[in-house]
Subunit: 254 residues, 2 copies
């Protein structure tokens, strides 16, 4: 078990207290960056598993996941020592361990709020159900949509939210409404006891402590690409100019 530890963090600057309340003492603490990659590793392992590959090296798995092998090994080391030196990783075993660590070995009931174009796409998305996420309700505030069949469910009234959340013990909510409705929906979800929210609406949500929000913003992703694309073109332009011309252009733009 290598009780050593040490080296991590090192300076307990703002901690000191810590032991105050109850738990929180060990805080196994898998870094956030690692958590974000675990699902990628899991998918790569599932692919290998489907191809009936029993064992793989960190190099192979890293290639399948699109990362550097040293990073992969360090990431996996936060979970424990699940590999064998000189051999590699057992695909099925590692797959199970990662799935357990992420929590996808259990069933997660999910509600989707806002059944427009995106909501339809989400409701039909097979990637949800295949990873332990079960859509228990599709909610919309527009009465014209109530009762409409979608996937293996029917669209229901957003007013039924609280009943549904309590009945199915829902912890995760997906917001796919227009931006102007997102904060209201979010507040309602939180009030019902939902503590994790995936937000597709282009708006900043404010939530109380203890509630996690992740946002997916299509427009922002495109803008980031546009920025880099613009710089690629600018690099060409810069090559076409001599240094004095660059200096002149800089002054001009100021």
């Amino acid at each position: 078990m290598t009780s050593g530890r040490s080296s991590r963090g090192g300076a307990p600057t703002t901690e000191g207290v810590s032991r105050t309340a109850s738990a929180k003492a060990p805080e196994r603490g898998i870094p956030e960056a690692t958590v974000a990659r675990l699902p990628v590793y899991l998918r790569a392992l599932i692919t290998l598993s489907d191809r009936e590959i029993a064992t793989c090296s960190s190099e192979e798995l890293a290639a399948a996941a699109g990362v550097n092998s040293a990073k992969l090994r360090k990431d996996l080391s936060y979970l424990g020592s699940y590999g064998t030196r000189g051999v590699g990783y057992d695909v099925e075993y590692l797959r199970y361990q990662i799935a357990r660590e992420i929590g996808v070995t259990q069933d997660w009931p999910v509600v989707i709020v806002g059944i427009g174009n995106l909501g339809h796409a989400l409701a039909n998305y097979s990637g949800f159900s295949s990873r332990g996420f079960r859509i228990v309700a599709l909610l919309d505030s527009d009465p014209a949509r109530h009762g409409e069949p979608l996937g293996d469910r029917f669209i229901r009234d957003f007013a039924d939210l609280e009943t549904i959340v309590r009945e199915h013990d829902v912890a995760i909510g997906v917001i796919a409404t227009p931006a102007h409705a997102a904060q209201d929906v979010c507040d309602r979800l939180v009030a019902c006891g939902v503590t994790s929210i995936l937000n597709f609406a282009p708006s900043v949500l404010s939530v109380p402590e203890g509630v996690d929000v992740r946002k997916v913003d299509l427009s922002i992703e495109l803008q980031i690409l546009a920025y880099h694309e613009q710089r690629k073109s600018a690099a060409y332009d810069a090559d076409a100019l001599t240094e004095p011309e660059i200096a002149a252009a800089v002054v001009e733009s100021a």
Copy 2:
């Protein structure tokens, strides 16, 4: 005017050389984390602008964008000195400067490949067109879908890709196909000269140097939420156990 001054950059820590070769010397280098936030600031400024607010402080803008004000000021400082001390930022002016820096003051033709549920949602998404992104083609390899109207376009054959890309000088492609088709589509896009790709398919794309890929993966986002959700529950469980019991449980699971 403030001709001289500058003061940008400040600490030439690891630079020193820099002046060596031709271009690449200045390399204004906005940090990636900052680039990812600029679209958020832009959206916040547009909201303020719509409310006819002429000026705002870093504190106000930071609140609207959901970030810390020191971080916001530092981010903006990479673009230049666009604020006035003791006053704040001119909303319209800053809005324009950020839009120009990101590149959304110009028009970006975009093709979407794979018109399933998600492709439909993307084609109808207003956030694209409102930020300078113009969808010039919706492509799918399924002949049954060709000619189908969607938004203000018709679905066309994927085989037309090269013609369309050359005709409209498309630099950005969106992949919304099933996972198994994504790498092929990606290769075709790259071969036609597309250098920025937004990938919605749950697969790792490999591209040559110089091509940017960003991925949006709904399933991964949910899994990250599930991980944190699981730990919240685990915290409760831990509270219910005494320390020896925790130790026992840990050993057992290993």
